[in-house]
Amino acid sequence: MIVLWLAAGALAVLVALALVRPLLARTAPDAAARLDFDLAIYRDQLAELERAVAAGEVGRAEAEAGRVEIERRILAAGDRPETAAAAGGGRAVLAVALTLLVPLGAFGLYAWHGAPSLPAQPLAGREIKAERDAGSLETAIGDLARRLQERPDDPPGWELLGRSLVQAGRPGEAAEAYRHLIAIAGGRPELFAALGEALTLAADGIVTPAAREAFAKAPGDPRARFFMAEAAAQSGDLDGALRGWTALEADSAADAPWRPLLRRRIAETAAARGVPVPPPAAAAGAAAGDPAAGILRLPPDEQARAIRAMVEGLAQRLEADPDDKAGWQRLAQAWRVLGEHGKAVDALTVAVARFPDDVALRLALGTAQLEAAGGDATLPTAFLETMRAAARLAPDHPQVLWYLGRAAAEGGKPAEARRLWRRLLDRLPADSPARAEVSDRLAALPEDSSPTQ
């Protein structure tokens, strides 16, 4: 701050000096020197004229006319110092005015347009952070998409992919992911709401007919209600929009993250409609729906901070109340989105110990363990233990059969692998793209002396 003012002051002084110097330099002594110079020339011209007359080069009459002209110039030169001195007074005023105007003008402009409270932005920190964040999210999305290409029957994976794509600013692809998810996992209201939001974001915030259709299938979902009111506003039905938003506000908890957004849209719409802004409705008893919806509309850096705060809050709540199974799943999912695979494993390990009979938790733990290990090129021991435990609960789950089959094949037990993968093939739907890979791996198994059927 101080440096800025010192620099600005020094610059103002320099500019004022540069402007004023030529004005002050042209003073009387300068004019006198010039007069001497002029007179010397005229004297030389007179001497030259005398010489020419003496040599007979110039006639008497011409010489007389020349002398008169030169003497007239000498007289004119003698008058000039007075005018220069007169102008000197005006210059002094101008110099003073400039010295005042430059710094005062600069200060005034800065006060008008400057932003002294803006934080410094060192070049080094400017882009790298954003690039790194975007980069890690893009890689995570790439990995996830590749994994889902191999094993498309993974609803939590598709949900994560959809969410991450929205976060990465690729809502069109996110909508595709949600469509696929709804096709394989059936339409839960919040999935339709997520699909509608992705479609809306893909159309630059316009609630398209397709998005409307999706929201209509999630009638109670707060996100769907919000966007249905937005659709009304966009089609010019400001009263309908206000009704929708105030009703949603009345049904929302006091700490619902979308409340500020609702308030803003209500105020804007009331202003456009020319009606008084309806007062905030009293908070409803319980929060409904997905708090992530509000976060998606924040700017990216705030978004990351808000997500982290939300996730840490959730982690603390679960420590106090570990019986919330869905909470553990949400927490693990959130850590995965943030790229904290170790923390996802920790959360799920606690949850599995708490709910030892829950297959979905164990499978999620397995997925997190693989992600923490950076892929399934080699299967970690902890992961295989999780899979074996899951096999005791759900011996025919495709994920369990696939990985235990791989463990058997890589552990030199082709007969066991064959048995598991054949069972897997029986359970995979006829059009599953995973069938080809399973069949290939089966064919590649070495022959065994005592094949089991």
Binding site: I206, V207, Q234, G236, A272, G274
Partner: protein
């Protein structure tokens, strides 16, 4: 006297600056259309694929209607689109479209995504018909009365707050 010559550029600058400064506070939407209350210009535009039939002067009149100049590449057009959808679907206002300097494939994708409120669409590939209409930027919307005359012109995107006034104009023309 010669000194004043040096001041001339400064003087010219001051004049131009004052002129432009005054222009900044003018509302370009407020510029009146030379076509108001005149019959719609004569034009005849081909259809957009099989999305809707083409549009020409002969199609206007008989019924109070809107003519909306749009383009898929124009972002404000997207914002006003839900409004046109509602005018057409809920208020039964015939909406005609002029696809301004747009590729037919792009215009079709645009309508597929956002819905098609247009009863007829004329493809104005080179923008010549838009010049006839005095359009100087998309989107623009005209209200045509039953005699086929232009009665109202809206420059720029229709905002949510424009819905009721526009509908009022249409209703008034319908009953008059």
């Amino acid at each position: 006297m010669r000194r004043l010559v040096y001041l001339l550029p400064a003087l010219v600058f001051a004049l131009v600056a004052a002129y432009l400064l005054a222009g900044l506070s003018l509302d370009p939407r407020a510029l009146p259309s030379a076509l108001i209350d005149k019959p719609a210009p004569s034009f005849d535009l081909p259809a957009l694929g099989d999305v809707a039939p083409g549009l020409g002067t002969a199609d206007l009149g008989g019924e109070v209607a809107l003519v909306n100049v749009f383009a898929s590449w124009c972002v404000p057009c997207r914002a006003e689109h839900p409004l046109l959808m509602r005018l057409a679907a809920e208020k039964g206002v015939p909406v005609y479209g002029i696809a301004h300097k747009d590729k037919p494939a792009d215009a079709m994708r645009f309508l597929e995504r956002l819905g098609n409120p247009y009863r007829r669409i004329g493809v104005d590939a080179d923008g010549r018909a838009s010049i006839e209409w005095g359009v100087y930027g998309v989107p623009e919307t005209f209200v045509i009365d039953r005699a086929g005359r232009i009665r109202h012109r809206h420059v720029g995107a229709l905002g949510p707050q424009d819905f009721a006034p526009l509908l009022a104009i249409v209703e008034r023309l319908r009953t008059s």
